[in-house]
């Protein structure tokens, strides 16, 4: 074997890069309760940086019922670039009551089908915890942040050493209390934003570059 040529080959370089972790893609998962604004935030981010949304949004909970992946998103802050894939996940809940969807005008059949899809989506979201390398935990700032779903998600991120930012969303609403989220999670990075209006998203992008770069 011609050793010098071998070490110059693409084959060898690819293996070396893999061993050194240089080919690892940063996969940032968007996690949280149903209706916390994960897809709205993902749409805001992809629209800001690549010009198109990732998914549909709706006031009906569990609109996102499967994981959507948008590859090659680049966020820039002060000359520094962060390249990553967005992993938009279904909202995690411990229970699904199909009758809750009826008040939004769905038929019983549609509501039951939505509930079944939502359960599968939650299973998929939990499985993706094995693969994400960073997380934005999106919390509705008008709701109690100390729910079992949020506690379970954070516990798993800490146990797996996955860096994460808590996004206190919906600060455009009158009854939003992002400071409550700050006081409940003083040890974590909390960024208050409105994904709907884009308020404070520049700060979120800056914190993402700091946390995930």
């Amino acid at each position: 074997m011609n050793m010098p040529r071998f070490f110059r080959s693409k084959f060898f370089k690819d293996i070396l890069n893999k061993l050194l972790g240089k080919n690892k893609v940063l996969k940032i998962g968007f996690y949280g309760h149903p209706n916390s604004g994960k897809t709205t935030l993902a749409n805001r981010m992809t629209t800001d940086w690549i010009g198109k949304p990732i998914g549909t949004i709706s006031p009906v909970p569990h609109e996102t019922r499967r994981v959507y992946r948008q590859e090659h998103v680049t966020v820039k802050d002060d000359g520094v670039e962060l390249n990553f894939d967005i992993i938009d996940t279904p909202g995690i809940a411990t229970k699904i009551d199909y009758t809750n969807f009826l008040e939004y005008g769905l038929s019983e059949e549609e509501a039951k089908e939505r509930a079944k899809e939502a359960t599968k989506g939650i299973i998929e979201a939990i499985k993706w915890l094995d693969d994400v390398t960073g997380v934005l935990l999106v919390i509705d700032a008008t709701e109690d942040p100390l729910t079992q779903a949020n506690i379970t998600i954070m516990g798993n991120l800490e146990a797996r050493n996955i860096p994460f930012i808590i996004v206190a969303n919906k600060i455009d609403l009158e009854d939003a209390t992002p400071e409550k989220i700050n006081s409940v999670f003083p040890q974590h990075t909390v960024v208050p934003i409105s994904a709907l209006n884009g308020d404070n998203t520049n700060l979120l992008y800056r914190k993402m570059v700091d946390k995930f770069k």
Binding site: I92, I96, Y98, A115, K120, N156
Partner: protein, 132 residues
């Protein structure tokens, strides 16, 4: 907590299972999760000493989602009460889980919760029973 009426009348009761940490320590995570979900699916409230690990909590949610059948079992509610734990010769304090309460979805109503206090009313159909 549980009332059993005479055989001639309809039984309206809430069965609560209290499990100490030693009863659970001998079980694998999957055995624990299966035991909890089986009991909760039957309509029982399960109260366990201590808590589940984050991975077990995630597995519990995942297993619950697989067991949901929309009309008969809609999932679970979970509540935890914390306790302070001193360590390192009493120089540091951290919170640990004291007890964990897991029940069928929407049975535990009007829950008032702080980190070390929980008060709830259990929905027994036509009547409600307080649990503190």
């Amino acid at each position: 907590m549980s009332e059993t009426n005479s055989p001639d009348t309809e039984t309206t009761g809430l069965k609560m299972d209290f499990l100490s940490s030693s009863a659970l320590n001998s079980q694998t995570s999957m055995e624990k999760i299966s035991m909890i979900v089986d009991r909760v699916k039957k309509g029982d409230l399960v109260v366990i000493e201590g808590g589940l690990t984050p991975e077990e909590e995630a597995e519990l949610i995942e297993t619950t989602m697989r067991e949901i059948d929309i009309e008969n079992f809609m999932g679970i509610d979970i509540y935890t009460l914390e306790k302070d734990k001193t360590s390192f010769f009493g120089l540091s304090r951290k919170k640990t889980i004291g007890i964990t309460i897991i029940g069928p979805a929407n049975v535990m109503k009007e829950v008032k919760k702080k980190s070390n206090f929980l008060s709830m009313i259990a929905n027994l159909g036509d009547s409600d029973a307080p649990v503190h």
